[in-house]
């Protein structure tokens, strides 16, 4: 889901996207991608057959794409940290409309945005940063496999024959992390028939590829102090061209890693009138990596408290109470997603979209049953300020 939805939403409103259905021009995008946005970008279609490592890389026929890694890690003394690193790619010009001067060190074809954050549970310190760059010398993404970078932050698959990843992120002037990531569970494709729907509009959809559990090892630097860490990560790759409808105000999202070896991905799309959009969804991933999808009516996302940001003034509904039907037992389970600490808001200095994204404990009947990363957007004013 991720914050890119807010950016996509804002861009959609700024750029006045509409949909037109037509045959793709000869020699342009793959023939199966018949649906295009009014500005010529492809729209994710059901039944796509993904090929890896190529599909870990960039999809230039689509307007918006992001790679997102969050996780929970621990230092030698058991000190706990949360982290987030997201790379957004936003195409300015569709591939098939690109001019002959495409490419180079300062291409105007794509913009990259990166967000990175570290949550230090011991000190309650939250460091975060945002960077913006055009594709070229300082940012880019490979189409051959996973290799995306912005400045000194990067996410890549060092060996295209081995499904292992390397994440390096710079967070402000004196913090950052460098992790080796190895999937502990196979890749999951969320959504019906490979398409994750985000609204009624034919274009409001994405391809949503996730490694719900990866083994993490490496080092983390907070305030100049380097700490060796191990832990568990979650990695998303989402591809889209337009997702949100104009009546959607924002959304809440969570990636939950349960101690019993299962995961849950959930998003609630919020309408302007406060109701939940039917396109909202929850997915269970079992121990074998098989996903089970549940529609909006089968789960309940509620606020279990409030926290008002002193920076943006936004009031976030955190902690979160989540009720869902466990597909294995058929019983309803109720969790509280409680933040390690509440001050985990990214100020949106560059993107213009403040949002809350932080590490949480998952509590069931007062006891910890897992870890989660929660994202709360659309609580700090209009999303139309995506790129100020």
């Amino acid at each position: 889901m991720k914050i890119v939805l807010s950016i996509a939403c804002a861009l959609a409103s700024v750029f006045g996207l509409s949909v037109r259905s037509e045959a793709a021009p000869a020699g342009g995008a793959p023939p199966k991608l018949a649906l295009r946005t009014s500005d010529g970008f492809s729209v994710p279609q059901p039944g796509a057959v993904f090929q890896f490592p190529r599909d870990h890389g960039a999809h230039r026929d689509f307007k918006v794409e992001w790679w997102y890694v969050t996780g929970h890690c621990y230092g030698p003394a058991g000190e706990r940290y949360g982290f987030q690193s997201t790379f957004f790619r936003r195409a300015v010009t569709p591939l098939n409309l690109a001019d002959k001067n495409r490419g180079g060190a300062f291409s105007s074809d794509e913009i990259f945005l990166s967000h990175a954050a570290i949550s230090d549970a011991v000190t309650g310190r939250f460091v975060h940063s945002e960077d913006l760059a055009r594709t070229g010398w300082n940012a880019g993404a490979s189409e051959e496999g996973l290799s995306v970078f912005l400045g000194q932050s990067r996410l890549l698959q060092p060996d295209l024959n081995a499904e292992r990843f390397q994440l390096d992120a710079k967070v402000g002037a004196d913090s950052g992390f460098s992790f080796a990531l190895e999937p502990e569970k196979r890749l999951v494709v969320f959504g019906e028939n490979g398409v994750s729907r985000k609204g009624n509009s034919p274009t409001a959809a994405s391809w949503y590829l996730t490694f719900p559990r990866l083994k993490l090892s490496g080092s983390l630097r907070v305030g100049g102090r380097v700490v060796p860490v191990v832990g568990t990560a979650w990695m998303d790759h989402e591809i889209s061209s337009s997702q949100l409808a104009s009546d959607q105000k924002g959304w809440d999202w969570a990636g939950i890693q349960l101690d019993d070896g299962r995961e849950v991905m959930v998003y609630r799309l919020r309408r302007n009138d406060g109701s939940t959009d039917p396109a909202s969804a929850l997915s269970w991933v079992d121990k074998q990596g098989k996903a089970t999808h549940q529609e909006a009516g089968l789960f309940l996302w509620e606020s279990a408290g409030k926290w008002k940001s002193p920076l943006s003034g936004a009031e976030y509904p955190i902690p979160v109470k989540l009720k869902a039907v466990d597909p294995e037992s058929g019983k309803t389970v109720e969790w509280v997603l409680e933040p390690l600490f509440k001050e985990q808001e990214l100020d949106g200095a560059v993107s213009g979209v403040p949002y809350w994204e932080g590490a949480c404990r998952v509590l069931q009947d007062g006891r910890s049953v897992g870890s989660a990363y929660v994202e709360l957007t659309g609580y700090a004013g209009a999303l139309g300020r995506a790129l100020r």
Binding site: L11, V14, F15, G16, D39, V92, T93, N101, G104, A105, F106, S107, S108, I111, E130, D131, L132, A133, R134, W137, N138, G151, Q152, K170, A173, D174, R221, G224, A349, V350, G352, L387, R388
Partner: protein, 902 residues
Amino acid sequence: MNGGGVPGARTVAGFLLRQTTLRHWKSQPGRFVLLLGLLSLGVAVFLSMRLANRAAVASFSSFAGVLAQQSDATLQARAGTLPELFLGRMQRALESSGVDAGGSVELIPVVETVCAPLKGGETGQIGSGATYTVLGLDLVALHGLALREGLVGGWLELDSRKSGEGEESGAFNVLKRPEAVFCSKDLAERLNLKPGSRLGVVMHDRNVELEVAGVIPWRSDRVQAPENLLVMDLPALQALSGKPGRLDRVECVFPKAADGGEREIWMERLRAAAGGDSTLRTPESREAVGELMTRGFRLNLTILSMLALLVGLYLIFQALDAAVVRRRAEIGVLRALGVRDSEVRLAWLLEAALLGVGGGIVGVLGGWGLAQFTVRAVSKTVNALYYATNTRAASLHFGEALVAFGLAVGCSLLAGWIPASRAASTPPAQLWGSGAAAWSAPDDRVGAKAGFGLLVVALALAFCPPLTFAGGSRFALAGYLSALFGVIGAGMVAGDFLRVAAWMSSPFSKNSASRQIGNSHLRTPTSRHRWAAAGLLCAVSMTGGMAVLVSSFEKSVTEWIGRTLHADLYLTSNANQAANAFNRISPATWKAIVSGPEVVDWDALLMFPVELSAKRSAFGEADTLGKVRLSGVSLGFYQRRNQFSWVEAPKDGAVFEVGQNAGLCLVSEAFAERFHVRTRDSLEVPVQGGSRSLTIAGVYTDYGDDQGVVMVDRVHLQEWFQLEEVSTLSLVLTTGTDGEKLRAELKERYPGLAVFTNVHLRGEVMRIFRQTFSITYALEAIGVLVALVGLGITLASILAERQSELTTLRALGVTDGGIAALASWEGFVLALGGTLGGLLTSLALGGLLVYVINKQTFGWTLQLAIPVLPLALFGILVPLSGAGVAYFVGRYGADLPADRAS
């Protein structure tokens, strides 16, 4: 007398100040105001030149700080431009070296060019048109920086209007439009530019229409963007300025927390990562380059601006000295009443200091005001000779104002010291005696001897070498000291010139009693006469000396262009309005032009600024780099057209043959002087991506550049820089071709080009040359004006001292007119003496300027030319003006009541 009950020196001095100085000033406000005015004029002129210089040099510094973050260092190619790949290389090298250091260096790539506003019509004056400095910056990165820095507005939000049916509007439109440009707030207001307005400019040989996308974001606590600054998206400017894939420089911003030691570490890392083909400079050293380039020019202006102050120094001295004489009886009474020597001295010094403070305050304010005018003149010259600057205003710099104020007080105290000592040390009995002659006698001989001594020192200093600084820059310190000592020394022997003038004028005085009386005063001149003559001598000699320099320059330059400009038509970009504007003519254009049927022969010049290794400086600093110009011409064409004026001619013709001259070069005289090289020496010259070893085949004269030029055959230069463009084009036309007609045709066909006929270009060269000296003429005129007013003050005080003599003359039947005639004659002869001495000194000074100071500063050999007629006219006009001033003073003095003598 020195008992404990006597108030302290300061208390008494304060009492004396109130009862004597202020009382006298109140009774003669005109005299006080005039003196204050002259001192403040001197200070104002000095300060205005300093402020104007500062403003013009400041415009050389980087604009990056205005736009985003203050750059900590700048990376530039030693020759040409940097490839874009350089950025990736730097990024990787810095990552591998800086991971543990925390933070990282932000790299801000920059493309920069100078263009001119689009103006139709005839080719105007070179260097007189406005220019825009256009920065190409990555607007996406800059947008992020601007937001993080809290600037008002970002770069990508400013363009939110629809640009066409069916087209997207919004933030990224600016990236899609290659003609989108951001302008300064001031320019937008002046030209009423709004988003969507068109702004026509000349870039290279093309007229380009830019579209205003918005105003450069700003923050109230930051320096505002200069009016002539335009900003475009980097790839758009790369394409427009013909630099695809190339960068002019990379600004580097260190982590904010980096302290002095860490900055040094980052500098070292950058240096290591960048390699040898590029140079790394801090903003300070970058600014120093601008200072270095213009140092000679600015020093000349500063020194000339002190002329009025120097003359004012004489003036204050003699005014205070005259006041001591006028108030001698009063001082005598005070001394007799027990006022101590030190108290009298302190009172006089306080008077001098008060004058200095008043003159300093008025001068600083006046200087600031005057600077608003002089800055334009200074900018024009800097623009034509060094680099683009459109500075229109000079701000008041506290340090400069303090220096000017200190100079005013210091000069006043210096000038007041001898009169104060004299007032304090002369016995009361002598103070009550009459006549000023007794006061002048003691220092007459001593002063003359000291003057001769200074002249000898001046002569010795004229043979001393210059100081050498990093980068090959030199400063003719000994030469300037020689000039100063020479002028002061000549001033001190000015009394002898007065005797000569009195002797010369005696044949014209036989039939006039008043003239004979006037002459008699000058045969035994008082100190008052001598100092007035010295002031005038100082002004005349410096003015005359500069006239000799300018005349020598003019003669040399005229002969030089006569030898070197032989083509019929010259073409360059209309945008080349500044010396550092490197707009070029595209291959398609210049090839089409030279293949015209009217062209019988042609040459093209291609030039680049490059950084050379310099010799170790006199102060033992580490080797630094010096900026010079690398030019490529057809050396064969130059030889065919006899366009060289040699300092050291080549031994054979190899350098003129393309097949043999790949490793050869010619260097200008300024280059040879700056880097101490001669024929057959070898140079390592940086070129695009490497360097070339060249042997100097000859040294030629070039008055168009004082930084130094290395000239090679254009064929090789184009190959080394992989560039087909040229900077200028010279055409020799077939016999019978109407040059003016062809010029008009070319102008119409290529509106982005400036086309000059031979006559027009020669005229332009001479105009720029004269423009360079235009400020000096104004400064000299002010110096002479101050000296003439000083002459008037001197005569007024002399007449005041001679009240008994005037009373006697009136008793003998001499009318007021007769007394005025007497004063007029005395003033004429006094001015004649000062002028004669000044003219003689000016010849020596002129020689010093031409052979020593100019040579050491600019490295140019000039032919000495004496401007006989102007100097003769000057020699006549100054004494006549002296006579005129003195006449009016005489009228005033004749009416003076006896009590005003005290």
